[in-house]
């Protein structure tokens, strides 16, 4: 379980500028195995939130607890996938996936079976000897996800992982991620600026607004699992979308009628 308790993040102003409140005081908690999405425009503090949970940045005030333990730095229990796949170009696909295991056990004692299995699940088996830059963007992102999951983290933090992909690939990757999540059941915190993506993937959507960044609303998604893309046409989906857009686009009067 992740507990976010009174977390606030202020970046000091540089060159005479006033300090920026990146994240206004925030409370929430995430149960094990939940798929949480965070949606909001840029500058709403969603990446700051992820960085704090990951341990890359310390909150100015408040604490993040993972299974009751305060987060003090990055750790192998929390894997991160970024918008850019950030693969290591000097390693082939297989060695990228095995990277975490290599660090932990040494090159010789890597559990090759586990790497093979992960490559298989990710549909990367026949690309294992390829260099990362020989793969398409979607494939690269799969390698990044595989690299994160092979060490069996309890928590998967994803910062707009499909933001750089084209619409088709993005849709494929969404359903792929959902299958993967059903199978391995990590706790997922998935950041996006795409409202539809947030609803389609999440059990719960944290809606954030900018200046200062704050948690404005939490929406519990009532769509059944397994999810599929056609659900965007259902009334329940539209209802959630309206709910969220009301927060994100308060100036659009039509959202507030009906």
């Amino acid at each position: 379980m992740i507990q976010i308790e009174g977390v606030r993040k202020v970046f000091p102003g540089r060159a005479g500028n006033p300090p920026t409140v990146a994240l206004e005081e925030m409370h929430t908690q995430i149960e094990d195995g939940q798929f949480i999405t965070v949606v909001g425009p840029s500058g709403c503090g969603k990446t700051t939130l992820l960085n704090i949970i990951a341990g890359f940045e310390a909150p100015t005030v408040g604490t993040v607890l993972v299974d009751g333990q305060p987060v003090t730095g990055a750790g192998a229990d929390r894997a991160v996938v970024f918008q850019q796949a950030s693969l290591y170009p000097w390693l082939n696909v297989r060695d990228n996936v095995a990277f975490g295991l290599t660090l932990k056990h040494g090159r010789r004692s890597v559990d090759q079976g586990r790497v093979d299995e992960m490559l298989e699940i990710m549909g990367l088996a026949q690309f294992s000897r390829h260099a990362p830059y020989e793969l398409s963007g979607g494939m690269q992102q799969r390698v990044a996800i595989a690299r994160a999951l092979v060490v069996q983290p309890k928590i998967l933090l994803m910062d707009e992982p499909f933001g750089a992909l084209d619409a088709q690939t993005r849709g494929d990757m969404q359903s792929f991620l959902l299958q993967l999540w059903r199978r391995l059941r990590p706790t997922v915190l998935f950041i996006t600026h795409d409202v539809e993506e947030a609803i389609l993937l999440g059990d719960r959507v944290l809606v954030m607004t900018p200046r200062p960044g704050r948690l404005a609303e939490e929406v519990v998604v009532t769509l059944d699992r397994p999810r599929e893309y056609a659900m965007v046409l259902t009334d329940a989906f539209t209802l959630h979308k309206r709910q969220i857009l009301r927060v994100l686009r308060p100036d659009q009067a039509e959202l507030h009628t009906g």
Binding site: A76, F82, S86, A131, Y133, P153
Partner: protein
């Protein structure tokens, strides 16, 4: 992009090595073998035209025969220098001694430069101690050091190797430094999340990430080494290609001056080519990721 621009790029200007790596890359993968062949043909035709103009001007005796040799004269002197030698050593032996000097100074500068650059990037105190010295030394032309080196160490091998070493060192250091500093944050963070220790991050992420820039530094540094060496040989030496230029100049052997200058260019090009081949093997991802 026009053919001319591409060709100009291919001329391996040291300052734009990185950009060059990228542009030849995109073009190389996009253009068929035919296209490449055409570009080579254009290069050859232009070079041939230049030689023709040279031959024409020389034949017209615009300049005295002693100052502008004909292409045939240069070919003759070249054969002479290769077969009978010049100044007691064959052209190949002259080139060899020059190459040896460069390689010793250059390799030493690379080995020390990479280590110092890494230390500067990682340990702030080291950076603060060394950076001002580098910034001070950088704008001083290498030639300015030659009289001092000759005074201290004479005209043997040591002053030349030292000159090359000290002129190449800052370039390698600064490129290594910027390579290490330029490591993408996300690459470091991914490793942190996978539980990497500081030394593991250094070895498995930072070092390989910095390699492409280290190679850029090496290529720029090799160019500078070669320039320094020829300069040093022209001031104080008794052998080597630079010495040949000066010696032939003293005796108004313009054909031999051309032979030496062309040899300097060819050897410099070949050394860069060799380094480029090594680079392609060691950092095949350069410019791609």
């Amino acid at each position: 992009m026009s053919t001319q621009t591409q060709m100009a790029k291919a001329q391996a200007d040291a300052a734009t090595l990185q950009a060059e790596a990228q542009s030849t890359d995109t073009v190389g993968s996009g253009i068929s073998g035919d296209g490449r062949w055409h570009r080579r043909l254009v290069s050859l035709v232009v070079a041939a035209c230049l030689v023709a103009v040279w031959a024409l001007v020389a034949a017209m005796h615009v300049f005295s025969r002693a100052s502008l040799p004909t292409p045939m004269r240069v070919v003759h002197d070249f054969v002479h220098a290769v077969v009978r030698g010049y100044g007691g050593h064959s052209l190949l032996a002259q080139a060899e001694i020059s190459i040896e000097r460069v390689v010793v100074g250059f390799v030493a500068a690379v080995l020390l430069g990479v280590v110092v650059g890494m230390l500067m990037a990682i340990i702030p105190v080291v950076h603060d101690g060394i950076d001002p010295i580098l910034q001070f030394l950088r704008p001083i032309p290498p030639l300015a050091f030659i009289p001092l080196l000759v005074t201290w160490f004479g005209i043997g091998e040591l002053p030349k190797v030292l000159l090359i070493f000290f002129c190449t060192l800052p370039i390698v250091i600064l490129n290594t430094l910027s390579g290490v500093r330029g490591v993408q944050e996300s690459r470091l963070r991914v490793a942190q999340c996978l539980g990497a220790t500081r030394s593991q991050i250094l070895r498995h992420v930072i070092l390989p990430s910095a390699l492409p820039e280290v190679f850029t530094g090496m290529r720029v540094g090799l160019g500078v080494s070669w320039t320094c060496l020829v300069a040093a040989e022209m001031v104080a030496a008794s052998r080597g290609l630079g010495w040949m230029v000066l010696q032939a100049g003293h005796y108004l052997q313009s054909g031999m001056i051309f032979v030496a200058i062309i040899s300097i260019g060819v050897v410099g090009f070949l050394m860069d080519l060799a380094l480029r081949l090594i680079e392609q093997r060691v950092v095949p991802w350069k410019g791609k990721a």
